[in-house]
């Protein structure tokens, strides 16, 4: 038996042969996986026009912009979402996070009840009394919701085809097919999904699909008093959201994961996770 750490016994010829053999094998297997990866999103690949996200479907492609510089942290969106969609207590389809920066470099992230009752209490740092008196230096609110990704991890893991994407780019759950295995809840890197204890099926933000198909705006967008949430058709260059996307510097959450979210953020800080 040849140990990998004793190369003295291996001739140059044998070494080159092994390299060529394993290299060829991995190239063949690699091309196989590339092919399956290309077939991953048939609804996007099937259409020859589907070059970018704005060309998927028959015209309308929805987008969502969150302006974190405008959010005042009132929690109106959280309450409106709960009332509109009958979200059970303790679960959230959308929530607001409060980021507070202290001079010692610590960042405190707080979201009591998802910000449903506002942010009246100052965040506690569990510090000695003299350090608790230290005033923060910087702070802001970040509303969160489903990112309606183009390359969705949650749809890929569904074993029964209950999670899917509409031609307009909205990620939905088929509550008749869902078996409640909660794979998608674990797969979502943004924590946007939960298992509804009333229906025992996966549930998530639908961008208020029942409202937008009737020509209304999502409940959180309507209720926002600071215009921090903008929703619309991104394939129409004249729409409000297209103008905002054209005139602002936007960022997505966790771009390094490559899920390509359709929810974009204005003024996102590097500390936001």
């Amino acid at each position: 038996m040849i140990s990998p750490h004793t190369p003295d016994d291996v001739s140059r010829r044998a070494f080159l042969e092994t390299v060529a053999k394993t290299g060829g094998q991995s190239f063949l297997f690699g091309s196989l996986f590339v092919n399956t990866a290309m077939l991953r999103l048939p609804q996007d690949v099937a259409s020859p026009k589907a070059k970018s996200e704005t060309e998927v479907g028959k015209g309308v492609v929805y987008g969502f912009v969150v302006d974190t510089t405008k959010c005042i942290g009132c929690g109106s969106c959280v309450r409106a979402c709960r009332a509109e969609n009958g979200v059970p207590d303790g679960y959230n389809r959308t929530w607001v996070e409060q980021y507070t920066f202290y001079p010692d470099g610590e960042v405190v992230v707080n979201s009591p009840n998802g910000g449903e009752n506002g942010f009246a209490e100052p965040p506690t740092r569990n510090m000695p009394a003299e350090l608790e008196k230290v005033q923060p230096v910087r702070g802001f609110f970040v509303p969160k919701l489903c990112n309606h990704c183009i390359d969705t991890p949650c749809i890929q893991v569904c074993p029964v085809g209950a999670s899917f994407k509409t031609p307009e780019g909205v990620v939905l759950v088929d509550h008749e097919r869902c078996v409640g295995c909660a794979y998608c809840v674990q797969a979502c890197p943004f924590g946007s999904r939960y298992l509804n204890p009333e229906t025992n099926t996966a549930d998530k933000c639908t961008w208020c699909h029942h409202r937008i198909t009737k020509g209304l705006l999502p409940a959180c967008v309507v209720s926002c008093p600071a215009e921090a949430r903008i929703f619309g058709n991104v394939s129409d260059p004249e729409s409000k959201i297209s103008r905002i996307l054209a005139t602002n510097r936007v960022q997505v959450l966790k771009s390094y994961l490559g899920t390509r979210p359709r929810t974009r953020y204005i003024g996102l800080d590097s500390e936001v996770i």
């Binding site: 009132c74 409060q98 009752n117 702070g139 939905l172 209720s223 600071a226």
Partner: protein
């Protein structure tokens, strides 16, 4: 060909298994599954069937026109009616004496199926000062301090709407310079 019978039996078994699988599959898988992707196509329409529970401030103003007008022309027109009063769908159904038996909404237990705001909690959602809120937003750090600053006495029954009209934010003063309790609803 001594063993042909064995092969035939095996082929028949496989054929029965394949036909059985295809039959069960045709019964179990919905007809419109896989039409445009790995999902049931009619699930999109199912999701859109629900009624919108937030009816919008314009719909509120159709009946409550006085309040609607003062709200729309006043300074406080960015928060919508339903931000404080809750969704209005059930209210319109109850007032129009429609049957609401199909709806399990908690809000149906309230009078006229609409929330009566407390007059202090709703204000705090936006106007209590926290470090993260922008300085352009009018906010107070402490309700008690705010009341004593304006020569009032804070009790547990003190509400913001004792002085401020929540629909317009206006405060009216009497001859002595003290705030008058605003007339909010007709």
């Amino acid at each position: 060909m001594r063993h042909a019978g064995h092969f035939l039996r095996l082929v028949a078994l496989v054929a029965v298994a394949v036909v059985g699988f295809l039959f069960v599959r045709s019964q179990v898988v919905p007809k419109d599954f896989g039409v445009t992707g790995h999902f049931r196509l009619s699930a999109i329409a199912d999701e859109g069937k629900r009624e919108a529970r937030h009816i919008g401030s314009d719909a509120c103003a159709e009946c409550h026109d006085d309040i609607g007008k003062s709200w729309k022309t006043g300074k406080h027109h960015t928060p919508q009616c339903e931000n404080c009063h809750g969704p209005g769908l059930m209210h319109t159904k109850v007032v129009a004496e429609e049957s609401t038996t199909a709806y399990p909404d908690k809000i149906l237990k309230l009078k006229n199926a609409i929330k009566r705001p407390t007059g202090i909690q709703e204000c705090k959602w936006c106007h209590l000062r926290t470090f993260e809120r922008p300085s352009t937003l009018k906010s107070i750090a402490n309700v008690e301090a705010h009341v004593s600053e304006h020569k009032g006495t804070f009790t547990k029954d003190t509400k913001c709407i004792d002085c401020h009209n929540p629909h317009t934010t206006l405060v009216t003063f009497d001859a002595k310079g003290l705030p008058v309790k605003p007339k909010i609803a007709p």
